[in-house]
Symmetry: C2
Subunit: 376 residues, 2 copies
Amino acid sequence: MNFKINKTKLYNALMIVSRSVSSNYPVPALSGIKLEASSEGLKLTGSDADISIEMNLSNDIDEELGLSILEEGSIVIDVKYLLDIVKKMDSEEIQVEIIDGTLTRFSGNKVEFKINGYRANDYPTIDFSTPENHLNINAGLLNAIIDETSFASSSKETRPVLTGVNFQSNNNQLIITATDSYRLAKKVSELNSGEFNITVPTKSLNEVKSIFNELDKDLDVYLNTKKIQFKSNNILLQSRLLDGAYPETERLIPKVFNHTLVINRQDLINAIDRTSFIKTDNMSIIRLQINSKDDITITNKSQEIGEFREEMNAISYEGEPLDISFSGHYVIEACRALKSENIMIQFTENMKPFILTKEKNPEDLIQLVLPVRTYN
Amino acid sequence: MNFKINKTKLYNALMIVSRSVSSNYPVPALSGIKLEASSEGLKLTGSDADISIEMNLSNDIDEELGLSILEEGSIVIDVKYLLDIVKKMDSEEIQVEIIDGTLTRFSGNKVEFKINGYRANDYPTIDFSTPENHLNINAGLLNAIIDETSFASSSKETRPVLTGVNFQSNNNQLIITATDSYRLAKKVSELNSGEFNITVPTKSLNEVKSIFNELDKDLDVYLNTKKIQFKSNNILLQSRLLDGAYPETERLIPKVFNHTLVINRQDLINAIDRTSFIKTDNMSIIRLQINSKDDITITNKSQEIGEFREEMNAISYEGEPLDISFSGHYVIEACRALKSENIMIQFTENMKPFILTKEKNPEDLIQLVLPVRTYN
């Protein structure tokens, strides 16, 4: 293997592919990026077994790549060193050449690095075959969906399927759900595609968000029951899916409400945020007492630290007085996902789940939070 | 105690005083800041026993302070909560009042916090009496001195006196020394003051640097054999000194040299930095081979990772060829402290300490580094 390439272009590509590589992975070769030089160009592959990324660099796609393949071949270089080497090279054109077995030389102007790589044959075979279901989704819309839901997924491995976001498609509707069983986010989108019901790891979706950030582009999405692929230009990101049936959540969402509050979103976020340092059992528990739209009190008490109290006004309130307590953190995250000036909070009673929505189009995105029992 | 004050002014003052407070200190009251309201104004005190800061706020010093003392008194509030409370208050004027025992209310417009404090009587008495030796030093000069030397002090507690910077004054010369016994920084300054020989903890000097950052101001410095005080406007920072005799370092600095290299400082930093990820026993060991000013090679080899090589040119070189190895990290830090375009490196032989200085005025600041034995 022997090729020349523009340093910055290679570095930017390696930065993307490296997002799928976790150093210290049990399979040593997987802590590296595979470089394959062929007549078609330079292919980069990275994987941590959950997520795999393949990127094809060629002068056809990028005129400024300056790729010239002097000899075909392939090698795997540890990502820990590869990024540093390429970044710190002293010239814009760099040359990469296998000089002896797996010893690979990176040379610039007056600088050269010789690094021991892994044989490409030792790199696990990754099945990048294209799954049968295809849909087309705007990257901006996908990123918004991820922002609006993924934070509600679980960070605990006790129920693995809850560490992902569920995508369910039927009747030209795409329903996206995330829950950690204390709160839930549900988004409904129109989408003309076949039927499927899959759960994508939240970690993979966060990588999708950071890699496909040209928001006005369309992504090709391919999926089956085992894996999902996101594809744009020369980047292919593939993620495994989470096994296990995603819980039926529809029945958890209350339909009848006795109390409806409309309030300025930022005011509520600020009030809860002010008191986030007052924690009981490592949780900031907010008590919300509503008598009328102009008589709303937020309090947070801790035996050890002290007490916080803020008077608030709402836009409107319908219903009897209410006294309810909840995790401040959950409500702040729900509010942040609802990007509208005012939000609507609908309650059934003080020990039943309540839902937060935008004031307008409340069906579009539902944030559900379970209250907390307190002994104030 | 009951007073009103401008929120931002109080917050900024608390940020400064909090630099001396380490939460989780064994004496609970020391994890707080003491607030004392009297007819003279508001006094803030923080301390972690090594460093203590006292700040006096009054309308005489700062017109925009808006301080009005409604009732004299004092309280200690945990710094963990105090900064958050003041920062997040919802109005520019805030009121602070002891309402019951140590329960203290912070109130803004529609927000109030009630926090349990500590009794001011439980706060240790800190002796802020003024030591007898006085000198006047420009804050910019002091910060430069700290930058040029303190990094060379030890971070290990095995020889406590080496965790500080030594200041020695006699014959109108101030000699500043820091060493971790593998490298040494020595600065010589003119200073008209009495004789002293003290070692100030590096940690304290770093706080001095970050607090007294109005570089065109003069600081009053007071010291004796036990403590040192830095004073400007209404801020007083006091640090204990390190016990024990500082080692005699003068005889360690070689006076006769057989090889003299003058080289561009940034080129050398870049070359060493490129290879800093190649480590042997967690140390990046650089081998420098000089044949002539235009035949200089920097290499770094690691059995495990690979090999780096860069060809360099110097401005000038006098002496026989030289082959020497050293810690890349130490030489980079020494180079960074020498703020001149070109630096001079003087060697005796390959297993003796070498010194780095500016090309011009080399006596002003000396950086000494011990070579490393290698088996290349």
